[in-house]
Amino acid sequence: MTTTTLYSVSYDLSRALLGAVGSVLPPGARDALTSSNAVTALAVLVFCVILLAASMLNTIVLIWWERKLLGRFMDRRGAMHVGYAGLLQNFADGLKLFRKTTVSPREADGLGFYFGPTAYMVSSLVIFGILPISSGWNAGALPLSLLLALTIFSFAPLFIFVSAWSSNNKYSLMGGLRSAAQMIAYEVPLLLAVVAVVIVSGSFDLTTIVYDQRNYWFWGPLFLALVVFVAAMLAEMERIPFDLPEAEAELVEGWNTEYGGMLFAFFMLADYLRALVGSILVVLLFLGGWTLPSWVPAGLTSFPLAGIVWFMVKTYAVFGLFVWIRASLPRVRTDQLLRVGWNRMIPLALLSVFLAAALVTVRCVPVLGCVPSVGA
């Protein structure tokens, strides 16, 4: 194996670590420590730690990226003082939240109150184990990774509702109800838009979907599905203009009204983790993942870790689109939200499914490009 993968990196790291520790121990203990089982066990642990650190780091940088972009949209600069161009501001904010006492309301249901944010956070983190970042840079090549990622992604309303209900606060409860209604309404078009991609690619494996885009990215032929997917993803991430569950003008802070300190940080981080997952899914499904078109000069794709670099560039660009939408559009009303979800999004998504089926038959569309034949 000459290609570097995330697992090979963590395996080498764990072997080096165990070898260094084992060299000072008696021979029996050394053999036990450096056996392949122990190395593999530690490698999995190191793998998880790397994944956790990378996803948290990216999440915090994503918050910085949003603040800076939003600042430019509003003719200001965003965070400036802590670190270069405010890069460390969110780390400072996180440390502050980490230090704070966690206060729970007297009437709150303790179990749900603490379980909700934790599970929300953990379920958002788990998705990162499934998403391929570059060729070889994922936890395992699951044949149904797209389905699994979307399944875990849609756990969120349950945890939000648990924490909203156990907060024992009317604003929290209303936010939780809105969140559940919204997420269920937009789950359907989201999945239908994904179905369009799956029809064209013929696989639920994200890695296969990316490789199927090696000639033509899917955003051209499946533009309608992309539009539906992005709109539904905005609602799933509860970002403006679909941030009704935490509409601060009417519901204080929605379902996280009663949360402070580290539990609030969990919600905040998980929101941005989900935003990151949403951007990554758009990149994987429609923008060719870590690949670049063939007309791009080879020098841009051959340097080490080029796949990850281009993947991150695309992800942050897609998130920039989300920020652009946030900066432009006002929040919609509940009735408008649900009307758009059920009356507009679902027909459009169904239309995109039929278009995808037609594309598979036709193979090539003059302007928009070609799609691979199923099973190719």
Partner: protein, 259 residues
């Protein structure tokens, strides 16, 4: 009016425009402020920096940083200790009672020199003190930075105010020339004991003690025990600070009507 809230109302234009138009507006703003947003990075950049004088303007078109908008600013005081006469008028005129006269080195031991110490935690920057100052030694500058981490650091000693004066900040040129007090210091002669306290403490040295004739003792009456001198105030030098009135032990000095 009710139709505005009718959710089933037919839109009168293409719904795509509802999304596209605001996004175009936002993109235009983004492009405009991509390299240089309108905000300045305050602690690192300042409006008084000449770079911004031509760029940043207020509604009237008058650039911030020059002209009356800026020069009218009343900030931290500057105190010239050398010309201060310890008249107490600044403390007397202060509506917030934030000025205290404290002893500074340089006076003669018998009559210590007292200069204003200003508590900026209380100061309202009304400028009455600098208007009242007869010598023009307490002025207001355009300095506006007072942030500290301790409340005690908000109290500026005369030495610190003198430092502000010595940094040669632009002074507030608008100083209201108050009409001089039309009243003058009058004396109730029978009460005076000629103690010299008023002349001693007068900051402008405009009180002189003049000898008065000692009256002849009438039969059956004792001559009052006192120094046979009386204060005479030189009105042209007097700054109407009232120090003499406040130090007089017999309360024989008072404000009188115009002459």
């Amino acid at each position: 009016m009710a139709s505005e809230f009718n959710a089933t109302e037919k839109p009168d234009e293409n719904p795509v425009l509802w999304v596209a138009r605001p996004m175009a507006t936002a993109a235009r703003q983004f492009a405009k402020s991509l390299f240089r947003p309108s905000t300045i990075i305050y602690p690192y950049e300042r409006l008084e920096d000449p770079r911004f004088r031509t760029k940043v303007g207020v509604g009237s078109g008058m650039p911030i940083g020059v002209g009356p908008v800026w020069d009218n600013y009343r900030g931290v005081h500057a105190l010239n200790i050398a010309t201060c006469i310890s008249c107490n008028l600044c403390a007397f005129s202060c509506p917030d009672l934030c000025i205290q006269m404290v002893t500074v080195p340089g006076g003669d031991p018998k009559h210590p020199k007292k200069c204003p110490e200003i508590d900026y935690g209380k100061c309202s920057y009304c400028g009455f003190c600098s208007d009242a100052c007869p010598e023009g030694c307490l002025t207001m500058t355009t300095r506006y930075e007072l942030s500290t981490t301790k409340r005690s650091e908000m109290v500026y000693s005369p030495a610190k105010l003198n430092e502000v004066f010595r940094t040669k900040l632009p002074m507030n040129p608008i100083r209201i020339e108050l009409p001089k007090n039309e009243d003058s210091i009058l004396l109730d002669p029978p009460l005076c004991i000629g103690c010299n306290a008023c002349a001693r403490d007068c900051p402008t040295q405009c009180i002189t003690m003049l000898d008065i004739p000692k009256p002849e003792a009438k039969p059956g009456e004792k001559v009052a025990k006192r120094i046979w001198k009386e204060p005479v105030v030189n009105d042209s030098d007097c700054v109407r600070c009232g120090t003499c009135i406040s130090v007089c032990p017999k309360e024989c000095l008072f404000w009188g009507g115009s002459k």
